[in-house]
Symmetry: C2
Subunit: 193 residues, 2 copies
DNA sequence: CTAGGGTGTTACCGGTCTGTAACTATCCTG
DNA sequence: CAGGATAGTTACAGACCGGTAACACCCTAG
């Protein structure tokens, strides 16, 4: 059958994309390499020609996932060029959208929960990528002219992270529905100082 | 060898205690029943005489873990009888302690991340237990005389949940160190209304 | 046309997983 | 002391896991 996708996209990219999706939906330890390759329309040997191990594949998936997240931030800049406060509000709206649409949390946070070995190669990558996310939010808050930018950014970060977990434990009708109110309240409260 | 613990405590309780500890440290899918029984000083057959399956053991561990959490709340009541506001502040302090001392998150949240099958027996239990936790925090906020008690309780819940995840992704030196400042700021801000 | 790199196929290795069977040893109670 | 419940031991079944070997194929570059 002429798949179209299977034909044109290179196996490596298909594997990476499929693995991201399956890890996200079913968890890392809940998906075997066989299942990934089959869903990607290829086979195990090809996977191991492009990734030296499952752990390496996991790391690449996390990097790809973080890159997609970073791309969204670029959209904010494109939609509200120079207006950092508007970008911050856009971030809040976007987060609320994600909470309602996706019942699973952040890939990096989920990976951190699943991969408990202290020296797992993914752990340092998660720390690095999460640090970059935080730095970006801090910079946005600061450039929006907010005093105590670090504290606001960290508060919003924890709120966000908590909401994504809450969706998984209590469903999308739980406390996470109040995220926008909480975040907007915090922002205006910090701006008032 | 005369173990003392192995001798006096019944196998079922040893298994439950050990499983809780190991699930917490290494994740549910990261621990096999063999490892649990060996660490508990017993064997697999005995485990399966007391628990019909690993899933059932998981559920019982979650209930036990939640019960321990509930016991802490009773301590607050004992330490500050009738003074709900003091109990709320005690909760904040206790949470901060946990964040600094334990690098792993909430057992229920972690389980929700790991057990992705929508009809896994643990999922409904997690929802139930998390709902009870939330209800208790809401009641505490309301009884402390705070208007918008639900909103404050949900905000604190998400902050707490987020902080426990953050410890796993960024370490205990990350944003979670600001938890007390955030929580206290929120409480006084809500009380001022 | 040909050589070679990327890909697919099949089979396999050794290990681990949950769960069970059959039997034995122990201990408490009546 | 007798008997029954509880616990321990060994072995095993059947499935799945990550990872590899060997070989056939096809497509494109030279």
């Amino acid at each position: 059958m002429a798949d179209g996708i299977t034909d044109r996209v290179r196996p490596r990219d298909r594997i990476l994309e499929t693995a991201q999706d399956m890890f996200h939906k079913h968890g890392i330890k809940g998906v075997g390499v066989d299942a990934i390759t089959e869903a990607a329309g290829t086979n195990k040997m090809t996977l191991y020609r492009h990734f030296e191990s499952k752990d390496e594949l996991i790391v690449q998936c996390l990097r790809a996932s973080a890159a997609k997240g970073a791309a969204i931030w670029d959209e904010f800049e494109a939609e509200h060029p120079g207006d950092k406060l508007a970008q911050l509000h856009a971030w809040v709206r976007k987060v609320a959208e994600m909470l309602a649409a996706d019942g699973r949390g952040c890939d990096m946070a989920n990976a951190a929960v699943e991969l408990t070995e202290p020296d797992h190669p993914a752990r340092s990558v998660i720390k690095e990528l999460k640090g970059a996310q935080r730095d970006r939010l801090v910079a946005l808050c600061r450039d929006a002219g907010i005093g105590q930018a670090e504290l606001l950014a960290d508060t919003l970060s924890l709120l966000f992270e908590g909401a994504r977990v809450s969706v998984q434990t209590m469903g999308c009708q739980g406390p996470s529905t109040q995220f926008v109110r909480m975040a907007e309240g915090l922002i205006s409260s910090f701006r008032a100082r």
